[in-house]
């Protein structure tokens, strides 16, 4: 699956498009940044409720394909701007992390 499939996924809102052609090869849920830093798989879809600039720093360093802020947590304007500048695909989803992961999982296996 490529990132662009998430642009119009049910329940998803696109905050920053990033590179829509990037492959999503895995799903990863984690809210502790140090653990995400060492465990997030490259080309993964990282689902978290941590919505701040540091989330984007970890996303860049781990080469995940996209980030989904789950649980209806909002994304600030500064974070949106940074994601756009860095070319990071960033989404929000109203569903909690597990349900969000299921949506991505279903799309990956569709």
């Amino acid at each position: 699956m490529t990132v662009e499939k998430l642009y119009d996924a049910a329940g998803f809102k696109t905050i920053s498009k990033g590179d829509g052609k990037k492959e999503v090869k895995a799903i990863f849920c984690c809210d502790m940044l140090s653990i995400a830093m060492s465990k997030a798989p490259a080309s993964g879809c990282w689902i978290t409720v941590v919505s701040n600039m540091n989330t984007l720093a970890v996303a860049t360093l781990t080469d995940v394909s996209c980030v989904v802020i789950a649980g209806g947590v909002a994304v600030g304007e500064d974070m949106k701007a940074k994601a756009e500048t860095e070319g990071i695909a960033l989404f929000t989803c109203e569903e909690p992390a597990f349900e969000t992961a299921l949506i991505v999982h279903d799309l990956m296996n569709a």
Binding site: I35, M37, N54
Partner: protein
């Protein structure tokens, strides 16, 4: 490849910029053609060190030297020092404040990750004076 030196000043308590130095090192290593697994190790180790300096030490300096043989990272700060290094090295141990935890930090994996993802790590710390962490990742 001749030696490449990179230097950064890390401002303290500025969480919005934390990780920029590590990000810059990562992109330079990629340009230099360093293998992806090495880039990953350096990125993780350096990011944790950078965050530690922001959380605990009011910032500091990072000097990175890339030679043919190894990547050396020296992180120096004038923070409070580490009271009990052995305890700080334990996975899960953290002295991070509630505010910092709310940002997603404070898992107690900073120093353990630095140790795990570097090939050699040395900590020099003095209470009230500061801490210098030297990490090496070998290229050969």
């Amino acid at each position: 490849m001749s030696e490449v030196k990179l230097s950064y000043t890390i401002s303290g308590d500025d969480f919005t910029r934390a990780g920029e130095a590590s990000g810059d090192v990562k992109s330079k290593l990629k340009v230099l053609g360093v293998a992806p697994d090495i880039v990953r190790k350096v990125s993780i180790a350096l990011y944790e060190g950078e965050i530690n300096m922001v959380i605990h030490a009011h910032g500091g300096t990072i000097d990175v030297t890339i030679s043919e043989k190894e990547i050396t990272m020296v992180l120096a700060d004038h923070g409070p020092g580490i009271e009990n290094v052995e305890l700080a090295m334990q996975a899960g141990y953290s002295t991070a404040s509630e505010n910092v935890r709310a940002l997603g930090f404070g898992a107690g994996m900073g120093l353990p990750n630095m140790k795990k993802y570097s090939d050699d790590m040395n900590i020099e710390t003095r209470i009230g004076e500061g801490t210098t962490v030297t990490m090496k990742v070998f290229l050969q």
